[in-house]
């Protein structure tokens, strides 16, 4: 129950204000504000008005709790917390301040970072929030939280609370390995249960982050002036991954680090199978910078790592034995493949049954005796008791939601992955070298397609240059550099040319490309759209399509705007560098690449200036006799990692 005494007090306060105003001004005059103050007030009103339309109130169908969210695109994609969507599963209802309730479907989830993407259905012109830059935010900046605390927004009018950022770059420990808040924002604007998943905006109404948890302690599950928000910059890193419909994981370097007494982040342990190790990071190395951010303490590094998705390749600088190295590092997942799914199942136990009607639920917590029973310490400030329990009969899912919902292991909603796969293959078929060829969608053409091959001619960029001829067909491929020819015709040879780090490593990449064009993602093997990641550590984030065939995993990295493939990576042994075929273009993004650049690790081992790339009948390609010389190709430039890392016993060690 709301304490009636509080209502009395507020009445007194209004009265007090009236008396005060009366003292200052004669009763007849309207109150006149100072111009500057009025401007400030108006600006605040405008910002709230700008921000409110993109706030979303999330309700779990069947009256089982809910939370908040924020619209980030006109076609209905919204962000919220994983712990808000998780009791609902794949379907929820969302209210917006326009007074409408929309059906929403789950898109992708990030249980480690406590983010989820949902899609509201039924409109293509949703009001979307303008994304801000949370890195530019500082303690003391005014901010506002808009959402659905205590699920009060049953009238679809979200609640606005106002305050300042109390701190930025905060780190809040995960529960286990889930729900970690790294590099997050701390605010004194009121955040209560039900605000979870909702937006925090800056004073201009730009989205700064997703509110997700609070410091709750002995005072019960109500605001005590400390709320935390996932930074929008972290969310930006994950948008592509979430759009993939996958259950995504966070990244780790595969090393533990500690802060030196006189400053500096030093590696105290490192996995030999990690890419960081392959790039030369060793026990005792000092990490200076990662993904463009300077790190000075283990906390700093942990903060940055917590914002990065599994599988990203980012820039890293480190100092080892007085030498500074700038390199690229591929990040590995925090979890093993099925580990995350298992953890998710156990992470959020079904909420306890609730005896009371929804309206009475919030107030029961005002009883101090009740508070003592609340679990102490920080709990995500999210869904309230009474979510959908497994035993409860499922809520009937509307048809328009069903139409956008495909369940599949490892995915939150495979429907959205399929859509991305389709757009990938369409782009691939509409760009060089496939765009000139006749369409191959008809089944009868497929036989012909299998009989087509690629003939590429060019020269190496060395002086003197050597002529290069590359032939690629469905079952056979070769590269000739000068007088040396390598010809391969089976998977095991494709595997070997990559693990040996030879120039012939570009053949499996071209072969995979050809096969993807011919077969499409569904027939290629196990294929999925991974999301977006930097290319060579650089933004913009590229779309990444993965195709796995046999032991080879192939990734296509395409430019987000033009859709043109910029690099193909082929992984053979997971613990070794992939072959990277970079397609460098000077002109039109859809034209023939000018240069093919084959890289292993961060070394380019072969650059070919292309003169022509033609599609020819496979019968026109010239093969040598049956001799095989795959394994003595253009030589290995790689060094095998050898020395063992040492154990450290430093305190305050953190895994990153």
């Amino acid at each position: 129950m709301i304490n009636p005494r509080i209502l009395d007090l507020s009445g007194l306060f209004s009265l007090g204000m009236a008396i005060l105003a009366g003292n200052l001004l004669s009763a007849a005059d309207p109150i006149k504000l100072d111009a500057a103050l009025e401007q400030v007030e108006n600006s605040r009103i405008e910002s709230v008005a700008r921000a409110v339309p993109s706030a979303v109130s999330v309700f779990v169908p069947g009256g089982g709790g809910g939370g908040s969210g924020v619209m980030i695109s006109p076609d209905g994609y919204a962000l919220t917390n994983f712990h808000v969507t998780s009791p609902a599963g794949s379907f929820m209802r969302c209210g917006m301040s326009d007074g409408n309730v929309y059906d929403a479907v789950i898109v992708g989830i990030d249980p480690v970072g406590d983010l989820a993407m949902i899609r509201l259905l039924g409109r293509s012109d949703f009001p979307a929030a303008e994304l801000g830059d949370s890195r530019a935010a500082e303690a003391g900046d005014w901010c506002m939280v808009i959402g659905n605390p205590f699920l009060l927004a049953t009238n679809l009018k979200p609640t606005v609370t106002y305050g300042i950022l109390s701190g930025v770059g905060r780190y809040q420990y995960p529960s286990g390995t889930l729900l970690e808040y790294g590099d997050c924002l701390q605010t004194d604007a009121s955040v209560n249960p039900g605000n979870s998943g909702g937006p925090i905006y800056d004073a201009q109404g730009r989205l700064l982050g997703i509110v997700g948890r609070c410091s709750f302690e002995k005072r019960g599950r109500v605001n005590v002036g400390v709320g935390y928000a996932i930074s929008i910059n972290q969310a930006k890193n994950f948008l592509g991954y979430l759009r993939s419909g996958r259950i995504v994981d966070h990244a780790t370097l595969g090393a533990t680090v500690s802060t030196e007494p006189d400053g500096g982040v030093v590696v105290s342990n490192i996995l030999e199978s990690s890419d960081a190790y392959r790039r030369g990071l060793r026990y005792g190395s000092e990490i200076l910078e990662i993904d463009g951010r300077v790190v000075q303490t283990a906390n700093d590094l942990q903060n940055v790592m917590a914002t990065l998705p599994n599988g990203w390749r980012v820039k890293m600088s480190y100092r080892s034995e007085g030498k500074t190295t700038d390199t690229l590092v591929r990040l590995m997942g925090v979890h093993l493949e099925d580990e995350l799914l298992k953890k998710m199942a156990g992470a959020l136990p079904p909420p306890p049954p609730r005896p009371q009607a929804p309206g009475e639920d919030g107030e029961e917590k005002d009883d101090p005796k009740e508070n003592k029973k609340q679990p102490p310490q920080q709990r995500p400030g999210g869904q309230r008791p009474g979510g959908q329990r497994p035993g409860k009969p499922a809520v009937k899912i509307p048809q328009q939601v069903k139409d956008q919902l495909v369940e599949r292991k490892g995915f939150a909603n495979y429907h959205f992955n399929l859509a991305e796969q389709n757009s990938f293959i369409n782009e691939l078929r509409n760009q060089f070298p496939a765009d000139n060829a006749p369409t191959e969608t008809e089944p009868q053409d497929k036989k012909n397609a299998a009989k087509k091959g690629w003939l590429l001619k060019g020269e190496t960029d060395q002086t003197p240059s050597q002529p290069v001829t590359i032939q690629v067909s469905a079952d056979k491929m070769s590269i000739q550099i000068g007088q040396k020819t390598v010809e391969i015709d089976n998977r095991s040879e494709m595997y070997d040319v990559i693990t040996d780090g030879t120039a012939a490593g570009l053949l499996p990449a071209l072969n995979a490309w050809q096969r993807m064009l011919r077969d499409g993602p569904r027939k290629f093997g196990e294929s999925y759209y991974m999301g977006t990641m930097p290319l060579g550590g650089e933004r913009p984030l590229r779309d990444v399509m993965v195709g796995i065939a046999g032991e080879l995993e192939v990734r296509w990295l395409s430019h987000p705007d033009t859709g043109s493939v910029e690099a193909i990576e082929v992984f053979a042994d997971r613990d070794e560098d992939p072959a990277e075929l970079w397609l460098l273009r000077e002109g039109d993004s859809k034209s023939m690449p000018n240069v093919l650049d084959l890289r292993y690790g961060v070394e380019s081992i072969l650059k070919i200036k292309l003169k022509s790339w033609k599609e020819v009948p496979a019968s026109d390609l010239q093969w040598s006799a049956e001799e095989k010389n795959a394994n003595n190709g253009a030589g290995s430039d790689r060094q095998k990692a050898a020395d063992a890392s040492q154990k450290a016993n430093a305190n305050d060690e953190v895994k990153v």
């Binding site: 109150i31 300042i164 701190g167 002995k218 002036g225 303490t297």
Partner: protein, 334 residues
Amino acid sequence: MNRLAALTLTMLVAANCSSLRAEAPLGKWVRDAQKRVVKIYGAGGLKGLEAYQSGFLVSPDGHIATAWSYVLDVEPVVLLDDGRRFESKIVGFEPSLELAVLKIEATDTPFFELKQEPTVDWGDPVIAVSNLFNIATGNEPASVMQGTVASITDLNARRGTFKTPYRGKVLILDLIANNPGAAGGAVIDSRGQLAGMLGKELRDSTTGVWLNYAVPANALRTTIGDIIAGRKTTVIDSATATLPRKDSHNPSVLGLVMVPDVLETTPAYIDTVATDSAAARASLRPDDLILLVNGQRVDSQRTLRSLLRTIDRRDDVELTVQRDTQILPVTLQP
């Protein structure tokens, strides 16, 4: 209304805002304050007793004001805003203000000046800077919250409601400032001046409401000044000679039976008082905690015994004891 308008304007001008369209961020105001606030780590960590609190610098020579609490039962470690870590020494404390002053070996530290006059009135905007919940670690800046002074009033208006020995005026705040670890944090007015020190968590024993308050800076000024100047130190004077056992005081002669001394630093709680003793004549009671002997800090029964050994058995002994929420001066006459 006028005051609010004027202060909002001050904030706008202070931040040198290029555009008057939006509210100026509090950036510089906040940052200047954060640099003067420290994190303090000491005893605790058990049974909901946090082993940390906040404090702020009050001199360029590393004097730090903080709340007098169990955290200071060991020599605390202090972390400055820049991440530097110091061992500290408790140079003085005043139980009736719940105030302690620490000293670290640092020079040229930024610090708050304490004004003689109150710097804020009700309705004034303030920020509170503290390390509540120990959110900031290492070189991370302390947390900052904003709000207004809701009123300035006496805490003992309803005596016994709030369990604190402090009897003076407090600033009642409309922000939820007094959280675990916030005690000793700084409340700053809109000119960047220290308005008060956040007190320990207090809860109304009848309604269960938690109080958000600060002890005004001007109430602390004289004591902090005296401690810094060495006029009111509680540090044990090690130059004083220990007297032969027969010539000095000891607890049993004074009629004090202390609780069993089982720890390295067993608090100096009185277990029983012998009848017709100096202690009985001074109305000491069981459960009284001896805080000071002749102005020197008693951190354990061992310290109590050694301090009594420095006092001639024919001289009076000045004690400061805590009885529930009261701080009482007591003179024992032999």
